[in-house]
Assembly symmetry: C2
Homo-oligomer: 148 residues x 2
Amino acid sequence: MSEKRLEQMIGKLKNKGYRITPQRLAVLNILAESTEHPDVEKIYIQVKKNFPTTSMATVYKTIVVMKEIGEVIEIAFSDGSSRYDGNKPYPHPHLICTKCKNILDPDLDSLKNMTEELVNETGFMIQSHRLDFFGICPECQKKMNLEK
Amino acid sequence: MSEKRLEQMIGKLKNKGYRITPQRLAVLNILAESTEHPDVEKIYIQVKKNFPTTSMATVYKTIVVMKEIGEVIEIAFSDGSSRYDGNKPYPHPHLICTKCKNILDPDLDSLKNMTEELVNETGFMIQSHRLDFFGICPECQKKMNLEK
DNA sequence: CTGCATGCAAATAGTTTGCATGACG
DNA sequence: CGTCATGCAAACTATTTGCATGCAG
């Protein structure tokens, strides 16, 4: 499944004339496999396990390339941090726990209707969107109750 | 109308024990009046017109305070830039033109339903959200057609 | 082989902080 | 008057860039 995803990413890279290096592959692997929307730090740590010489710069450069060719999306937060998603590199809703920082991808079909409504009302040509919900996940709610 | 908004902001500041300085007032004025979601730069330029000695640091510090007391929201984008809204300092949808960078506040009542749906499905306790649509506004669409 | 990718270090940009001075309450 | 805010400059942090070397194609 995410095996396929990795193939897709590699294919697109080759198509665009980029080279497939071991470091890039390692970064792609994490971006393709991970459904947890990792940040740069996390990717870097992971990549170093297999490729100890890898530099932060390479991780950043790889992400820039992947964003450019539309195979990775960035989710930037107001605190300056960013998380990345190469598993579903298209706009989709996020459900973010402000306690444990986990990010889920809920299904929200009604979003399509909302977009259509917006087009009709405003005349905008919609290109993409961003929908994040912030809250406390059930697990963290339990923990908070126990602490009291 | 936004006169009232300014009063609100001032009141909250006083309540929390913060002082009302001319520089803060100037920043608050812009944040309260403006429906265009200005960035720090824009606020700074405006404030300098009336208070030439004002520093960037003061603008930043004022924004930090206003965010803390919930009277201003920040909209951070993936390119690192941020825009601020003191006119409607609560979560609401944005409609952003990627050409001219204008930001509108559309009405989308169905968002409430969406949130309820989410709570039922996931058990999350929702605290806030962020909903941005990116596209081309009607004016920019016209310009693009003329250029062809 | 040729040129793009790597990785180190230096540069950058936006934001934050420390501190002496000034002014709100 | 005491304390907090200002404004300058320095510090900081995350990201980007330049360049010599390495390696993919």
